[in-house]
Structure formats: C-alpha cells, structure tokens
Symmetry: D3
Subunit: 340 residues, 6 copies
C-alpha cells in the first residue's frame, strides 16, 4: 500500500512495572507514544512506509522520542521543532476488578501551542496515499481545530484517503466543543473509527440497548450507529471495536466494519489482557492495512480484529505484530502453541 | 470516623519478583508489614487517622520500617524501641496449581520479648475511637497474652471499640494455648473477624458442610458459626470472608456480616489474583471503616467485600485503595475500564 | 531410585523479562538449559542422584552453565570439554492469543561436532539405573546418531533402563532423517515419551481424530498410537501428555501411560500458564521417578501429570518442585491456598 | 532546634539508572524533589521537626509526592491543593568528563500559577523558628515574587529566622528580573547561602580571581563576596560552598561561613561522587542545623561541610545522613571503614 | 559532510549489569553492536548521514538488531539477508585491577559465510563520500578478504575516501594471515587508525620504547610508527590513540594524528572509566567527522580525542555524544558541572 | 592440594542495589554467605576440593543457601540440619566518605544453638588436608567454643593443618570472652590470619605506630605483632593484610606473611573498590592455596595479596577469581586491559 501519514500528539508514557500502583513505584518504564504514532508504528511493523507529523520541543527527551519512532521505521523528517514541552502521562495498569488509571499532563505542549505555519503538510503528503488522525488532535489546543482541518483538506486535495478515530477525551475539551469541531471535520473523512460511547457523547448518535458499564452489546445497535454516521457525514466506511469487559484482566473482543450499506463482523476473541492501552490504535492500523491492500470487507474486519486482539497480549501501546502473526491468528490458530 | 489504633507485629517481608521461586531469586522485594499495620495502612488510605503500636529494635532496618508506615500516613509516635530483632518472612507467590509459600523467621523479635511496661497504651489511645488487634499478637511471645489483654482492657476503659481478627497461626502456638488465651480476650471484643477454619481450630466452633480444600462453602454454616460466636462471647458483630479457591490464580470472593442476629452477604467477585497476602486485613479495614462511619450493615459488608476484592488486584500486603475506588467497585463497575 | 544419567545438548536460554517482545527488550534473562538436563534437574529436585553428559567449549560461559547444574545438584564430572561454542536460543513468552516464539542458534556447537571418542559413557553409567535421552540429541550433528546409539547400547549392556522422549525438532533435521535414525534407536528404549504430532511426523503413526490446532483430543486415539509404538518397537511403556491449548495463557493438561497393554489416564488440570517451556521434560522426570520408585501405573501417571502441571506455574524450563509439593497436588489440593 | 518551615517547588525527578544516557533508557527512577524540600528532608533526618509548604494538583502522582515527604517525616499539612500540574525534570548522571544533564519541564505548574491567597503561612509558621526558601521560588511564576515576599515578611513578623539560598536558575528568569526581585527579598534574610557565580550573575558581586570552569578558587575572593553581601543587605551570616570540579566523578569540596565579620573555613574533602544533585541543599540543611542548635561558627561550617560531603556519596537529591554519621565524618573518620 | 558507509560484522552483545561477573548474572543487558556500526552510529549522532552494510540471518533477533541501528538513524537499506546466525559476544566489565573479559561466539555467522555476490556495494555507495571498515571484517570468514578488497576498490572507483581501523583480533586469524591480507588492503586506505600493538603484530612495525602492560608510551615512538605506515602504504593520515592504563577504572587518554609528514597531539584526559568498549570506534568516528568537515589537523585530533574521551564515560559500545558536547569538552570544560 | 574443610556460620546477605541506602531500597540483592564459606568458595574457584560444615534449619531458604554453595562446587554433605533460623545481615555499600554499614541479625540461629553432637567432623575430615575456621565461629553461641575446640582437636588428630582468621566481632562477644576462648584455640592453629586491630583487642598484642582511622601503617609494627603471635602460640605462619583506607571508594592494599622468623611483603595495590566485604576471606583462601601447593613464602604472600586485591573489584563476598586471573595480576598486569 502507499505511504501513510499521521498527525497528532506524542507524549512521554510513564508506568510502574507490572501491576504496581503509583504509590509503590520508584521506577517508571518510560516510552514515547501517541494515538496516531501508534497507528503508524503498527503499520510500519506491517511493512508500510509511514511518516509522522507532530511538534516537539528542542530537548534531549524529545530527541529520544523521535529515536523511538525511527527504531520502528516511522519517518520523522517532517516533525516541527519548537514550543516548550512534551506531554507526559502516567499509566497504572489495572488487574481483575481494579481498572487501569491514567494521569494526564498534556497541556501547554509544543503541539498544543502550534500554529498552522509550523507544519509543512504538503511535503509530508508527497507520495502518500493515506492520512490518519484522531479526535484527540483538534482537542489539543487553541489553533489545533484549524490546523487539523487544514491538514485534512490538504490531504484530500492531494488525493489521500483520510481516516479518523473519533476518540473523545473528556479532559481535553467539552462535548459541545468536540461536536462543533468534529462536525466540521467528518465530512472530509473517508474511514471513521468510533466506539458507541464517543458517538453518543460527541455526535449525539446513540446505539440502542448498549450500556458500557454492564458490558452488554447489541450488533443491531452498532449497525444502527454506523448507518447514521455514513448518512450524516458521508463517510465511506465505519469501523467499530466491540469490547466486553469482564474484568480488567479478561475481555471479549470483536469488531464490525460497516461499508457499502452492509455490516461485517469478525469473530470474538476471549482475551487475557497484558496491556489494553493502544488497542483501538492497533485496530485502526489493521483497518488501514486492509483498505490499503484492497482486501474484501470481511477480510478487512477479520484482519483488523486479529491485529487488535494480538495487541492486547503485548506490553505498552504499540502493536508489535507482523502481518504473518496477524494472519496466523486470523486464519485460526489462537491456541498459543510455541513457534519454534 | 475517630482515630484507629492498632497493636501487633511488624516484619520485613522478602519476596522474589513476579512468580520466581526462592531458588531462582537473587533479589528480593523488601517491604515492611504486619497484619494490624496493614489494617491501619488501609484505613489511612481511606483518610482515617491511625496510630500503630509495636516494639522495634534500634537499627537502620527498623527505621526504614517506620518510614514505610509514615509514608502511608500511619502514626508512629507510640512505637516502643528496644529488643534485638525484627521478624522476617519470605514469600514465594503461587500461580495456578502452585500455592504461595511463606517461610517465617519471627521468633526472638522485639515484640516477642516485650513486657507490659514497654508500652504506653493510654497515651496512644487518647482521642481514639477504635482499637484493632489480631490473634497473632498474643501468640508472639511469653508476655504477649498479658500485654494484649491489658491493651484491650485499657481500650475499653477509655471508651474505644475493640476489633479482633482471630487469625490463627499454627507455627506460633498450639490450638490449646490459642483457645485458652483467645477465650479470655474475646469477651472484650466488639467486632470479630474470623474464618471458619480458625473458629474450628481455636474455639472448636464448626460450620456445617464446609471443606476448605474442596472449596465448598455453605451460607448457613457461616451464619451458624457467627451465631455461636456472638452468643458465646457477646461480640456485637462477626465478619467472615468467603473465599473459594479455584486455583492460586483464580478465586471467588464474598463476605458475610452477622450482627443484630442477622446475616448480610456481599455479592461474589470472580477474582484474577495479583497478590492474596493481606486480603483478610483489607477486609477488616473495610469493616472498621463501615462501622466507624455508621454505615448500615448491608453497606458495611458490601464496602468491606469490595475493599478486600480490590486488594487482591494489588501487589504486596496493603490495600492501597481509596474510598472512591472501593465505592466505584461496590456500586457496580467491575469491568475494569481505563480511568482516564 | 538408582542414579539417572542423561545425555544431550545444553544451551544458553535468553528471554525478555515478563511478556516483553524481543523488540522491547534491552535485557534478557539468561539461563542454561536443555531437554535432558531439565529432566535430570527435576529428578535432582526430587532427591535422585543424577549425572549429565554433554560436550561444552572451554570458556567462561560454559563454566557458568555447569555451575547452574551443580547448583541443582546434577553431577557434572563426565562432561566432555572441547569444541567451539554453546548453543543459544531466544524465547519470547506468549500470552493470550500470541504464541511463544523461539529463535534457535544451536548449530556448530560443541556437542554438534562431537565424536564418539569424546565421551566416556561407561564410567558415567557406573552405579546408575536409568539413562535418558531425547530425539533432539541424535539430531544435533553428523556423528550424533552414532554417538546416541552407542550410548544407548552401552547403557543396556550395563543394565540401565533407557528412556527417550521422541521430541521432533523440525529445524534440526528432516522427518525422513529422523525416521531413519529413531527407528534404529527405539528398539533399545524401555520407556518412550511422545506426543501425537511427533509420532505422526517421525514414525508415521497417527492418532485418529486429533487436530492439534483445533485442540481436540481423543483418548482412544492416544491409546491407539501407544499400542502401535509398543508393538512396533517393543517399548515397555509409553507416556503421552495431552495438552489442550485454549490460549497461550490457559491450557488443559492431562497425561496417559500405556503399559502392559493398558492405558492409565491422570485427571485433567485447568492451568493458568506462567511458562510452558519444559513442560514435557518435567513429565518425563515424573515418569522416571514413578518407575524408579516402583509406583503402580496409575500412580506413575498421576505423579507425572501433577509434576508437569506444577512446572507450568514455574518460570523457566526446570520443574523446581519437590516430591512433597507434587504429592500434595496429586492428592487433591489444587486450590492454591498459602503454605505458611 | 525549633521547627523549620520551607516553601518552594516540588517536582517529579526522572533519571535513567546508573550512568545510562537518556537515549539508552526505557526505565526511569522516579522521585519527588525540590530544593527547599530537600533541605527539610535532610533536617528531618537529623531529627528536626519540619513543615513543607507548596502547591500541588489534585492527582495520584502528587499524592505519591506527598507520601514521599511523609516517609521522611516532613510535615505536609499546609500544602495548598489546586492548579494543573507538577513540574517534571529529567536527570542524566554524568561521569568523568561527561557532565550531568538536566532537562526541565517545570512551567505552568500548580506553584507557578499560585496566588497569595492559596497559602496559609501564618498557621504553617505557628511554633516554628526557621523559614527557608531559595531564589528558585520567586522565579517560578508571575505572582511568586509577591508570594515569597509575603511569606518572608510574615515569617519575620512571627519571629522566625529566614534563610535563603540564592540559587539562580537561568531557564526560569533573566538576571535582570532576578536582581530586581532578590534585592527586595534579601534585606529580610538572616542567613544567606550563595555561590560566587550566582552572586555575580544576580547581584553583580564578583569574587576576585575565580574562574569556575578552570576550577580555581580563592579564599580571599569568597571572603570579599561575603563581606559585600553582609554590608549590602544586612544578612547575619553567609554560607558558601567551595567546589573544585576535577571531573564529573571527582570533586574537591569545602565550605566557608562568614559571620560577625569573620570567615570560617571547613577542611577540604576529596570526593568520589555518587550523585551531586542536592549538594547545595544538604549544605543549607547543615548550616541551619548548626545555627538552630547554637553551634559555634567553626563547628557550624564543619558540620555543614561534612553533611554536604556525605550527600555526594548518596544517590538522588536528599541527604539521608544522620547527625551521628555527619559528626563521625566531621570528627575525622573519612576512611570509609565498614560500620558493623 | 557527505554520507559515510560502513561494512562489517554486527553482533549481539550480552553483558551482566554493573560490575557483576558472568557467574553472578542471571540477566544480561542485550545490545547489538559491531566496530564499523559503532563508527556509523557515532557519526549519525553527529548529524552525518550513514549507511551500514552487513549480512544478517532472517530471524526476529536480527530484526531487533536492525531496529537498534534505525533508532540511531543509521541507514539499513543495503543489508544483505541470509545465512544462519548472528554472532554473539559476552562482556564482563572490569574494575580496578580486574580486566574486562570478552567471550566471543562469532563463527559461522551470516557475514562469515558471505560471498561477494551477496552485497550491492555500488548502490550503497551512491552519493557517499566515505567508506569505513576495519581489520576485523576481512578476518571474519573465508571469502571476506576478497569481499573487503572488492568493497574498497569499488569505493575508490566511485570516489569515496577509505578509512580503516587496523584492529587485529587474535582469535579470528593468525598474524601471518592478517599481514598477508592487510598488506593487500592498506594501499587502498586513505585514513588509517592503528594502535602500536596491532602495527607490530600485523605489520611488524614497532614503536620504540613502548611496553603496553607497563603503560609507558613514547610520543616519538608513535610518530615513528606513523611515518613508517605512510611511507609503506601511502596512506594520507594515521590516527593513533594513546591509552595509559592505570587500572581498569582509570586511564589516561590522548591521541595523535600524523598527516603531511607532521604529528599533532591532543591534550591528555584523566578518565574515570564507565565502559571502555568502543573507545577506538568513537575515535575513528571523530577523525572521520574532522576530515569530512575539513577541520585543520590539530582540530581534527582534538575533536577525535574529545569524542573518544567522552565515550569512556558512556555505557556500552556507542558514543552517544553530540557535536555540541564534544566541542564543549574540546574547548576546555572537563569539570563535569551540571548542564541544566 | 588436598581437600579443605571449613566450619562456621552461613547467613542471608541482603543489600540494596548499587549505592542505595537502606531507606531508598525496596529491593535487596539476596545472597548466602559466611566468612568460612567464602574461603571455601574461593578455594573451589581455584580448583580445590572443599567441604563446608555448618548447621541450618530445615526450610526453603536454607535449601537455597546450600544450592548456592553447590553452584560454586563446595561440598555440602556434612551440613547438620536442625534449629530454628538462619542468620540475616543487611549491607549498605559505602562510597567516598560514607562507610559501608552492616546490620546484623544473627542470634538464635541454628549454628548458635548447636551442640557438639550435631556434627560429624570425623567423616567431614576424611581425606582432607586443611581445616579452616575463624574467630567468629566460637563467638556464635553458648556451646560454640567447645564445638570449635573439638573440631580443631579432631582436625589435628586426623593430620589436617589448621588455619584460623582471628576476625573479632564486637557485637558477638566481649574482648574478655574472646581472649579467654581464642587463647585456648590458638595453640592448635598452624596458620593464623589477623589484623592489627584484632590482635590488640583480643590478645592485647599491639603494633607500634599504627592508627587505623588515620590510615598509617608501619611494616615494623606488623612484623613485631607477628613475631609475638608465633612466639606466644607457636603458630607456624602469620598472614596480615595491610589496608590503607583513603576513602570508602579507594584503598591501598598489601599484605605480609611472617614465617620461619622472617617477614615477606607483597607489592601494594591502589584499588578502586567495588565491594570490600569478603576481602579478608579471599586473602585467607589465597594463603591456603599457596601453602597447600607448596609455594615459597614470597610467592604465597604475592598470590594471597593479588587474590584479595581482585576480590575488591568483585561484587559481593566471594572472590570469584581463577588461579589464572590471580597469577596474571601477580605477575604484573594490573593495567586492566580487555581480555578478549
């Protein structure tokens, strides 16, 4: 498939080792991550050429962050340098009945204070076929709705397909503001990834008979939401992940792709979770890989579901799975026998 | 609620990291712990003022132990200093069919060799409303039954409610000796925490149809035991945890409160266990918090069960859960969704 | 039981900590391991005198490897020194739907380039009652079929019982070559350990209705395979482990012993897996212990199944379980209650 | 001595383990630190009652920070809660010719956005004898000069002695702004800690014949600077540390106290450095302890120099030395023999 | 400067943490390294475009190795894939009187079994100005002298300057064989890096009055060796590092550049060593950077000496120093003051 | 040389990693150690057959301790099993001016409560040529002087040479008691290891002009002490280590052997210390190796000094150096060049 470009935040992720709570930690694992970068990293693991656009301050920590992208093969030539700080977030991994906890410290960052003129999207998009961003990006700062809108428009102008993960973050903006901004952006989106909660909160689109906390899901409800999205915004395809949280340690996982007026469902995986952060991003990467390689809809959703299922067995945010590994799971071997 | 005072042993806990066996370890995690201190630490996490009374030797390791209490906000001004050593215990965490193993080295400790005149309970109790100890404390040394009896009497004299966890430890004393001592102490106890095994071994009170190894539990049996305890010793309330061990990794967990001639049961949690040591202590803390804040009996047991359920998802002995987290679980969200 | 001697490869095992993927690791846990050495280490943990024969290069890493055997009490006086290198393998532990991955680097090793004259089996066998090797050993190098055949013949000449684990490794030799060699060796074997896959691939013996990936197992199929093995090669007993892979994290585990024309089945354990590498070796050790101590067939298979079940709860390749622990599980307590 | 109160910033300190560079780290040690808190922690280790005033956001990380103070016995009852974030800084420890590197991310923090009404200094000062802050505090944010001035004035009004470490930080403010603010504050200071660089940059007071990079120091120059400080601002005493940097691993260390028109010099220590961050803070704590306990000037500077010398042998920012240990070094035993 | 291309081995480096001996380690730090790759990594840290040519087996560990190069920005598009294994070496870091120990396991590797047709040097050299290899490369395998000769010839044909570090490895080949091969290669070399030991052993060129073990060095001796090298092989410049080993922990370090018939010496650094492996490679990188940027000879050797001095303060093989850091040391600040 | 037998305590050693203070540690490295076992371990590393006699409790930790001896090849067949506990000690490693600190918890141990009938020295001594113990052993418990005396007498009766390290421990007994006991034991000793402090404290023998804290040593003084020892107790040889403590990080180290009325001095090593615990034990092992192999006196002391110098560069208590490594240092190469 053609080169994929992503645009978004990039933060320092700090987490205690294993299942330690913050109070027990005097060491944090330190990684660099962001929703869009995760998607690109996952695509890069699949052999796709990628390019990540963000804005970072000129210091040694940001240079480490960039090196971590380079390590996975993500292109970093179009990063804008400037501003004062990288965002930081602290993750405490949950287990059993104890949920994971995230403390965000992502205000006043280089990207939050960015302006349109900081970026050169045209050259980043050269030769690319796909542009991915999320609902987090426009929420980051004052000028970011404008920057995101500009980027999407530029992408479309240059013939790229645009994908977007709705990804509502309540501590970044209000639902009102999100609605207002996202309704301007969505008409430019080709492939939309969304969960039912975000659809309801941001767009007021509600799936019938769904109660996230209780973990009940209705296939019809999801199809209904997807239908509304395509009708209202003209998106070509909607991808939804269907998570049933049994506990912080055990989830059921499947996914739906709605396209051409039809819904396609993957099979359901019973997952024992290693790390669930980045699950949605790995799904988006799987979808893009499927579309980018011209898979049929059923194969797209099977691939994306298998990819994101594997992510849950992997520490940290990035899906370090190869196409081979994903296909092996998709084609049936979930038994976990040793690969010698 | 009013200040809670605890009295008991305080030991060095050493455990290999993760699931390593002792033979595989050349590093131990080192923490400081004890049944009563765990209860106070948990209460302190819930915002309750606490004070821990123990006896420790004058050396750098004991000073570290005290600092670890201070870190969690537990008062340490009434610790008696003297004697020769702190106890040590080694814990090897079990998994699946392999049980956890504990090697104790807790003889000849400062508290085991303590005498009544070493402690100033009256000043520790000033302003307090609750006094907690366990059946471990009187078992520690020659003078400890006497010291514990004195402490309980002093507590009651000063108007504190007394709670006690029966907690029989077979390597500290015989059941004969335990029976003889505990039967002197129990009439001074207001709130008793006990499991069916201890009731039978120490007090000869047996719950019908219970076989711990096979993991069958009968609600009627527990109610029967609790009824006998209240009748025989005049305790105001009896709390019991109901654990069904499926394996070292998976347990079912619920709890019963028997008070005012009636039994109240919590719901049952299917737990994937991170660390089960300290589960009983977190239950005691939950009970005390419920009583101390005047909860209704059903809410008390719901709170205590939720608190101790969360403990099992937390490494080490102390329940580092806040009131918010416990209430969120108690009120229904056990799905483990990320808290952003 | 009498001394057990093993002969085979001994490698450096390198694995990322926890569930990290290779790409995430800048530290590997480093252990020394090999199928036959694992069996001896496990027997040594059970109190059996053991002696391991292998060939190692004269360098500091090989000396560490030997020290690790000595630590567990395995005799190392008959190791042949020479050659150029120890084998290395890298293990990435799987979880949930992600299988474990092993990268082997075991060519050109000291044992792969060994010749018959490098070893003094006669003196290693002095006083011993059991000789164990696996189908890996003859696959290691050009002269190794000849060396293994010589060792087995010598063992029988000196009155030792010979046990062998079929253990086909596709990256060491072809099924054709394996068949040719193993068919020469098996007539000298008293106790054979095999799984259905290896029987089919190496010997062309197939169990009806078995499909490993789908995880369906048929007891009749296994009995049938075992019957064919005893008839064709005159082995006295056949041990088979029956693994049902639900995921990389959860397996069902039981085992069958076929001897005297009859099949004996252990009970089935639902295991939450800590590390599955070495599961087969721990089973072999359990079988040998049972035979060596004259257990009845049902007790042999119960013991071997319990032993290998416990192994899955233990990190790394060696079953560090004692006879006491195995018997406790075999006799019914799989509830994982703390052993204080 | 009477209770000591400190006021200042409190940050998350993240550093790679050992001598790793940022680029090599995927784990950071995580501690909570700040110049004034370090002084109080050190005093608390010496048995002095202390209270730390700062402003922190209401999140789990800040609660960990507070627990770390409590662990060392520092009072935390007067911390103001509010604002958006804690500061973060990243430290890479130098060695030999490679200097330590610090990347700061301390803008927009809760204390940087604090206002006078956020703090209740009067109640924090109740019963206290000493108030300590540094030139970092007024540099943190728009209102902080005003808040610091208010705090100092309040301290003096309530009879506390005021100590201040000049501590110029070029990335927080300009020398012009620093001069303007510090010249308003210094007349309220009783004990001033300063190094020659800061005196020159901030106050334009220069010691003759000193060139920091080249590591030459002149005793006369320091006396001259101190004399100017006492004359210009009326401070009672000036403490100066005299560091000769041979390399990042080896320094020579001594100190001067100028008081009553006279200079007192400690002896010089040849230090092999474990961690030099916090060296100045430990010196301030030593000075305060000396003044607070009425030591003679020579003993004050000997004690403060020994205290801060020991700090350099201790990992992280806080001087975890006891009075005993400091006195032992001060009285002559720098041989490092084992203390059994 | 123009792109630099390197060609050589790339191995897994395994070392116990800190100063642990192999026997004490059950964990190894795992990195990927090689003399030529170290030079390129160091150049890449300085902002130079680089490309590394090697041959690696198609497995997950080799893919990690490549990712580690990518992380530092080294180009990896011309790596040849094939063969059976990566080399491995084990490093035990020395201290004080105990030397570092290295156990090599680098035979039969993908590069050792490479043939000329495996590589496409012409396209790797496109646009490049510099080609670097070492005396290790031709020593790796049967065809490697031929491959190296071909690469050098191709480089010269395409106008690249050729640099070579003599780097004799006694466990890879004999001095006779080394002499024979290197004497064919050296006439194609522009910049030669050598130490006196290698010159003597490989080329029979001896510096007067040098005795490495005793640590005496004579400037005249080095000049003499360099003069002989330039005369005999027509190299344009010779770089020599002058190490005086006081102990494994402390060395004196300086360097000489001989070019245009004249010798230029850097100043001497007294280093406290963190890790000395890779010291020579960092020197080579410094030299190349100096030549590539047209520095004057004295500045070239000052820069290369400062660069390699800094390397000794950095863990592992690669000099992670920036041009800024090197210049700061070169220009005089070796005092190790904190860089805030 | 013939088999060496040792008799003494064996403890759990717990230490924070690196230079962390106890207060900073929530992990301890865990090793098993004792003065006499260290001597045997060191001899075992040198290829000598060894056997360690001690008494240990029957628990999992003691079994780990025994495994650690076995790992190094020390014989463990004559250990007496029984009693209640193993001793524990906590070590905090010093640096620069901060001394190492040890907190002992070694009372009431299995060996402290041992009685003569617990041991079978006669069979342990069979075939042995050397018996080593220290002044710690008789100080451990009530019956231990008697047991030690019996062991020494038995050793002499069976023709073993007896070596003893005076090793006074002030927290185990008084100087009066030590004097009384040691004066009974010393006449049975052939080779005595002592430092000047112990000689003075225990035996009242003082070396002129020595002041340990100030670090001044006089060769004449040591000769004088040794002469007195040989005259008073008839010992054949006296070994003394001469440590000059510059700081906890840097020491000068040499040693003297006094035998046949003559003193032999080693050269002096300037050591940068990694871990100094066990330095004396490694010296004793070096002496025994020299005597056991019939070295001339000068070579004995050179070997012992080199051996113990190397120990200081090794983490933990045991000198993991081989004869080759020691000889290489003894013969002149202290430059720390890499051994490839």
């Amino acid at each position: 498939m053609k080169k994929a470009v992503g645009f978004g935040d990039f933060l320092v992720r700090l987490n205690p080792e294993g299942y330690k709570r913050f109070l027990q930690a005097d060491r944090f694992e330190a990684y660099y991550t962001g929703a869009e970068a995760n998607v690109l990293s996952s695509l890069s693991m699949m052999g796709v050429e990628t390019e990540f656009v963000t804005r970072l301050p000129e210091n040694a920590i940001a240079r480490c962050a960039v090196a971590s992208l380079r390590k996975l093969g993500v292109g970093v030539s179009h990063i804008a340098w400037g501003g004062e700080r990288m965002g930081v977030f602290y993750v405490e991994k949950g287990a059993s009945q104890r949920p994971s906890t995230i403390v965000y410290d992502r205000k006043y960052t280089s990207i939050a204070t960015a302006k349109p003129e900081d970026f050169d999207f045209a050259s980043a998009f050269a030769g690319a076929g796909w542009f991915h961003c999320t609902g987090i990006t426009p929420a980051l700062g004052e000028h970011m709705p404008e920057v995101t809108e500009f980027a999407m428009a530029e992408a479309r102008r240059m013939g790229l397909k645009v994908s977007c993960d709705l990804n509502y973050r309540k501590n970044l903006w209000t639902t009102q503001r999100a609605k207002q901004v996202m309704e301007r952006l969505l008409p430019m989106v080709d492939i939309l990834i969304a969960n039912e909660e975000d659809c309801e909160k941001v767009l007021g689109i509600r799936a019938a008979e769904t109660d996230v906390v209780q973990g009940k899901l209705s296939r019809e409800g999801y199809m209904d939401v997807a239908r509304q999205l395509t009708e209202r915004f003209g998106v070509q395809a909607v991808g939804v992940t269907l998570r049933k949280s049994i506990s912080a340690s055990d989830n059921e996982w499947s996914a739906m792709l709605y396209t051409g007026g039809k819904a396609y469902f993957s099979r359901t995986y019973a997952m024992h979770i290693v790390d669930r952060v980045g699950g949605g991003d790995s799904f988006a990467a799987g979808l893009l890989y499927g579309f980018g390689n011209g898979f049929a809809p059923q194969k797209i959703i099977d691939y994306a579901a298998a990819a994101s299922c594997l992510k849950h067995s992997i520490e940290l945010d990035v899906n370090l799975s190869t196409v081979d590994e994903i296909c092996r799971l998709m084609e049936g071997d979930g038994s976990g026998r040793v690969q010698r």
